[in-house]
Subunit: 511 residues, 2 copies
Amino acid sequence: MIKHALNVTREADFAQWYQTVIAEADLAEESGVRGCMVIRPWGYGIWERIQRLLDDRIKATGHENCYFPLFIPLSYFEKEADHVEGFAKEMAVVTHHRLKTDANGKLVVDPDAKLEEPLVVRPTSETVIGAAMSRWVQSWRDLPVLINQWANVVRWEMRTRMFLRTSEFLWQEGHTAHATVEEAREETMKMLEVYRDFAETCLAMPVVAGEKPENERFPGAVSTYSIEAMMQDGKALQAGTSHFLGTTFSQAQDIKFQNSAGQQELAQTTSWGVSTRMIGGVIMVHGDDDGLRVPPIVAPWQIVIVPMLRDQPEDAAIVDYCRSLQQELAKLSAFGEPVRALLDLKAAKAATKRWGWVKKGAPIVIEVGGRDVAGGNVSVIQRDRLYREDGKLDSQVMPRGDLVLEAAAMLESVQQTLYLEARERMESNIRRDVTDFAGLVEVFDEGNRYPGWVEVNWARPTGAELDAVVERLKVLKLTVRNVPSDAAPAEGACLFTGKPAVERILVARAY
Amino acid sequence: MIKHALNVTREADFAQWYQTVIAEADLAEESGVRGCMVIRPWGYGIWERIQRLLDDRIKATGHENCYFPLFIPLSYFEKEADHVEGFAKEMAVVTHHRLKTDANGKLVVDPDAKLEEPLVVRPTSETVIGAAMSRWVQSWRDLPVLINQWANVVRWEMRTRMFLRTSEFLWQEGHTAHATVEEAREETMKMLEVYRDFAETCLAMPVVAGEKPENERFPGAVSTYSIEAMMQDGKALQAGTSHFLGTTFSQAQDIKFQNSAGQQELAQTTSWGVSTRMIGGVIMVHGDDDGLRVPPIVAPWQIVIVPMLRDQPEDAAIVDYCRSLQQELAKLSAFGEPVRALLDLKAAKAATKRWGWVKKGAPIVIEVGGRDVAGGNVSVIQRDRLYREDGKLDSQVMPRGDLVLEAAAMLESVQQTLYLEARERMESNIRRDVTDFAGLVEVFDEGNRYPGWVEVNWARPTGAELDAVVERLKVLKLTVRNVPSDAAPAEGACLFTGKPAVERILVARAY
C-alpha cells in the first residue's frame, strides 16, 4: 500500500484534503484578517501565470487594460436598483478617513473625520466604469469601448474558504460598450469562449460553457453565461462568467451616443470576469493524495532540480552539474515559451525538498546525487505518474542528455495527461438519462458520495415557477448550473414543470 | 515660430502644462471619486511596462511575489507607535460591512452591521506582512525572507495631483527579513541600486541615489534611502525609496528566530517601493510643448503606423501595405525584446491620429499615403526631433526597406537622446558652490524660476537642531532631499549649523 505525502485523502474527507493541499503546497494561509487570505509565492506564482496568459488573450481580442478607483461612492449604487439589490448585503464601507489617539492613549477612529458620503470598497466595477464610459462615449465613432482591469474586489462573505470564497479576492473584470445588441452579444460569447479555451488549454481543466438560468444571473444582467468545471468530489465550480448587460448600466450611468443617423441611443454593455477562484478549481481538479499537481503551462517552475548534498567535498561537483543542467533546460522551449527550470539550493534535506516539490505539484522533479554525476545521469520524477505498480516512488534514472532531449515532450505529456484524466472524469460523471424528479433524488442520494452532474430537460421556467424549482432543488442541496452550449436538443417534457422542454440544463451540487 | 500641439507651454505655466499633458496624452483623468484617478489605457500601458521590467529585476535579485490583505485591523497599528504616528492622520477606515434601504427607500449604511474592530485600508503593509513573517520565521534556516507585492494602497491626501499624490495609488512594496544587520543593510542598498538602474536605463530618467536626512525617514525606519529625479521646473521628485528598518517591525510583530548558536534573536527587516508616481516623473522629465515623450523601453507601442485613408478605392492597398509593414516591424527586436508596432485603424482623420500619437509620445510615428505606397516609401516622424530648423514638422520620407533596417536603432537612439537630455539638464542645474544661507536665498529667489538643486555641506544635525534647519528651509519652500552616495567628501563648515560638515546634502523644492 502506498504511503501518501498528505495525512488525509480525498476519499476520507474532501474538504479537509482541500485545506491540507493549500497548506502543504504553500499556496495560501489564513491572514488573521477576517475572510482574507495571504497568497504565498507558489500560489501567487500560479496566479501570475494565469494573469500573463489570460491577459495575452484579452489583449489579442482587442481589449486594453485600465485602472479604476477602489472606492465607489454610495450614490453610484443607488442609480441601479437591481444591481444594488444583488450586492448591497455584503460590501465593506469606508466611513472615516482618520485615526487618532484618544484620552486613554488608545488608537481609535477619529469621530471628527467622518466622510460626507460613505465609500464602498468595489464589489465589482460596473457602476464606476459606466460613469467613465459616459464621459468617453459621445458618438458611434467612440464605440466599441473594450477595456479590462486586473484588480482586487471585496464582498463581505459570511462563510469563507480559501481561493473559493474570500472577502477580498483578485480578478480581472472586462467591461465593454457597443452600438448594437448583436455586437454586444457577440462580445459576450467571444469572451466566454476565451475563458473556455483558456481553462481547457492552460489549466487543463475541462469545462461546460453555457447560459445560466434566470435565477443565477448577475444582478442587472440580461443574460449570464458561465464555464462550469467538475471537481473531484463531483461538485460544480463556476470558474468564469460573461454577462450581456443590455442597457441596464448604460441607462443608470447615462452611456449615450449619437448613432450614424444622428439619433441618441443607449450603449449596449457587457462585463466578464475570472478570479483567484480558478486556483481553487486547479486544486480540486488536479490534486491527488500527494498534494497539488500543477498543469505545466501555469506552473511557476516546471522543472525543479534538487541536488542531493551530504556536506561532503563532492557536493561542489554536484552543484556545478545541476547548475549547468538548469542552464541547459532553461534554453529549451515548451508550449512556445522558455522552460522554467529552478535549481533548489535551499538549506534543507534533499528528501524534504523532494517531497516539498511533489506536494507543490511541480511537473518534473530531478534529483542529482554523486552517483548520477559519475554516470552522467539524472533521477527523474514525473508528477503525473508518481508511483510504480509496486507502490514505490517512480524515480527514473536516465542519461542527462536524454532528459534534455525529452524534457519539453515530458512537460507536454503531463499537461495532456492532466487534461485527459479530468475530461474523462467529467464526461463519465454527467448523467443524461434522468427524466423525473424521483430519478434526480436517487442520483443525489446520501449513499452516493460523488454523484456528479445530471443534464435534464428544461422548459426555461421563470418567475414563481422558477422559484418553486429552485426551492425543490435546495432541499437536495442542488442548483441549476447552466444550459450547455453544445448540449443535444431537448426532446420531451421538462423534468420540473412537465411543460415541453426547450433546452437541456445541468443540475449539480456546487461550490 | 512653431505652433505646438498643446495650448499651454511649460514656460507659461508648468502646473497647467502637466495637467494638460495628462489629459491630451490620454494618460488619466479625474474619476469623480475624491482623490482617485482613472488610469486610461496609454497611462496604464506605461505602468504595465514598468511593472514587467521592474518585476523581472526584483525576481532576478531573488525575491518572490505574494499577496497580502487590503485590510489591516486597527490593533495592528497600535503595536508600532512611530509607524502609526506617521500614517494615522491619513487612512481610510472601514467600519461597516453592509448597506440597506431605509424607510424612505434611500440607500444607507446599515447601522446594525458595524464591525467589531475597524479595518484600515492599507497605507503600506509592514504591519500585516510582519505578522505573516512572524509565522514563517522560526530558525536562521528560514532567513532571509525575500518577498514583494504589487498592490493598491490608500493614503488620505488632502491635496491631490494625478500620478504624484492620489488617495489611492498603485505600487510595489518589497519586504525582507534577515539574520544580520549587515545583510539587511546590503539588501537595502541593493534595491536602491535596482531602482537607480531601472530609472536611468528604462525610464531614461537620471536620478541621485542617497540617504534621506532623519526628518525625512519612513515612520519606523532606521535609515531611508531615495532616488531623486529633477523635473523640468527644477523641482525634485522622490521616485523610489528603500528602508532599513532594523528591529522596529520585528519587535512590534514578533519576528524572532533561533540563531545557529541556539539563541533567540529579532530579525532585521527592510522595505522598499516605487509607485505610479514614476509616471508623473516620466511626464515632467521628458514631456515637451507637444505632449509626452515616452522612453521607447516603456512605451506601450513603440512604432505606430497611421494609414492616410481618403475613402477611396486605393485605401485597401494602403492598409495592406501598412499591415505587412506592421508584421515586418513586429519581427524586429529592440532592447532585447520584440518591437511593439501598432497599425492604427481607428475611424478618425489621419492628421488627428498623427497629432494624437505625437501628444501621447509614441517614439516613432509612420504615415503611409498613396504616394508612399507607389514609391515603396514611408513618412517617418521621430518624437525626439519633431521639428526641422525652419519650424516645420520633421516628417522624413524614406524607403520602406531602410526604415525596417533602421527602426531598432532609431528606437535606441530616441531612448539615448531622452536620457542624455535629462542627464545634461540635471547636471547643469545642481549648484555646488553655495556656502552660506544668504547664497541659498539668492539661488531660490522669486525671480529665478527654475533654480534647480543646491548641494551643500552638512553636519548631519539631529533633533531640535535639525528641526530648526527644516523650519528655516520651509520659509523658502525648500527641503533637504538626500545625501548623494557619489557626492564628493565634505570639506568645511555645515551651511546651516556652522559645525564641521561630515557629508554633502541636496537642497531643493520638491513634489
